[in-house]
Amino acid sequence: MNDQPFVLGAVAYAPKVVTIWEGFRDWFASEGFAFDVVLYSNYERQVDDLMAGRIDVAWNSPLAWVRARRLAAAAGRTVSAPVMRDTDQDLTSVVVVVGDSDLASIGDLAGGRVAVGAIDSPQSRLIPLGHLAAAGLDLGRSVEVVGFDVMVGKHGDHVGGERDAVAALLDGEVNAACIIGANQLAFAQEGMIKPGAVRILTETAPYDHCVFTVVDDAVDATTVERFSDLLLSMSFDDPAVRGLLEMEGLREWRPGRTSGFDQLERAVDLLGLYDERGRIVDPNYRP
């Protein structure tokens, strides 16, 4: 067994986060791996603590990955993403309009209002706005962006901002709303979106979401490897962990990859959230 517990940071965006990590902590212990968890109220402090060596690994949002990478690069260091969820790979966001809208293309949004989630939500603000801008829309000039800031600092993990954005669309307050594709299905299933009430105007390119993040020079590679191997060995067929995996929203852990963050990197620059050294530069972003 490792002598010192391997310490993970996670953001407590919902009460279930406590249950999930307490459960994983017990499971790691049963596998002979000393492990502990520190919960954060926001990703910015978690990333700061990762860089300062106060935690060994961060369960990072894609935006937190971007900031960690930039902070590390500015300090001449590197970060890695050893593991991620199956459900974090190749996601897309969608820009939805009401079903009977006469909007047919991104260009038709000019002169209108577009609802987005929290200021720091990759899936509901940064990536879809980057997608609209890349298609030629002049954000803030030809379209008004209406933000729904729920739990700022949690990088859009809380679904509230996206829910509010869709509610604004259904109430006729905006012409379009930006959400992650899976939430269109979730909102339909819970009855918020009636059949045919909204349709997709445009879909972003695929991107990746959360990743575990380590600073390469701060952790023992063998310990990280053991941590990763244990995660990858978890099976959805095992009733001892199935409930935890379900709560965490995955069927299986997969080896991490960092190829799915380019859209987000560009959007962060475009919207001026962080600078290239990972410093928070958007004055409206107060986690």
Partner: protein
Amino acid sequence: MNAAAETDVVEVVELGDLGFDGGAHIVLNHHVRRLQTGSLVEVRGTHPDLRPQLRAWCTTNGHRWTDGRFAVGAYNWSRWSGAEPAGAADAVVARAPGHWGLALRGVWVEAGGPSPRFALDTRDEIWSDDASRLYERALAGQWDPAVAIPWHAPLPADPDVEAAVVQTMTFLVENEEAALVVPARFLGQVHPHFAEVQHVLAVQVADEARHAHVFARRARLAQASPALSGAGGRASLQTLLDEPDFATASFLLSVLGEGTFLSLLAFVERFAPDECTRAITRLARADEARHVAFGLSHLERHCLIDPALRHRLATAIEHRYEALRSTSGLNDAVFDALVVLAAGCIEPGAIARGWRAVQELQRDMTDGRIARLGRLGFPADQAQRLATLHTRNFM
């Protein structure tokens, strides 16, 4: 399930214009459930958002999406891994494990759920083959006090007789409360595997709530002066509430107490001075008969399997007798009220008749107890002795 090669489409699903905002996932899951891991499914449809929605659905549900097709994920059957049947639908097991929890008997229980502790989880302790029949009888026998009771029928003109009714009702209410609390306390301890027993106890609790309600309402009809709740009677009932063992509590309450009440309620019905009192005692008596039948039925079975139980039950009567020896037993006011009810007035000749009727009631109660003890297998002489040790408070 074995993996299939991810090359050939093995299933084509036609969705028409159905989208994921209208339930497309139900159709897909129906197909997916029959397919092996890796089977390639082609999805066709005309819904404008089908492609992006299918992609999102696949990602969330562990299927591998590629351009309008997807390969069935590896975890299609995970919930069945380690699952076990919660017994058989038509038979109860000797002891129901906690992890079957609230599941319906005979269904498959997914592994990994909670394992609640139900103290009454053993067949021989609680089961009766009669439970299902008694529950159905109970359902068919439910009555609505608003329509079944002639609340507006004339009340006795004689204030002494009305006072006797009020005193009797006061006594009945606190006994019904005890008969409610005792099964209610055990109800939450019965393992749901023995659902029929659970249901019988639940309806028993509901019956007693209704009885307490109608007796209280009758007591207040004439707004007569309040009656007395005797300390001795409450001490007697307290020994029922304090009994921690299901078999013993059931024996003391249902077989002896409610059994004795069958005689008492028949007596009050017979001498009721008004239609309302007659109706509520008749209806309550029919319910109580079911409670007695269940108590007798499961204890009869239990005694057959475990003859030593009889000794425990006999000891329980003796202990209760000793515990109550120093108390007054039946409240004098209740005894007198029963005499007045049978007399119909306080004229001396009538009181003498009433007195004899109550003596007869007590003999009738003792005979009933002897008969029920006999049914549980107690020899005649022991049944005779134990029947006379029963609380003077009737319940």
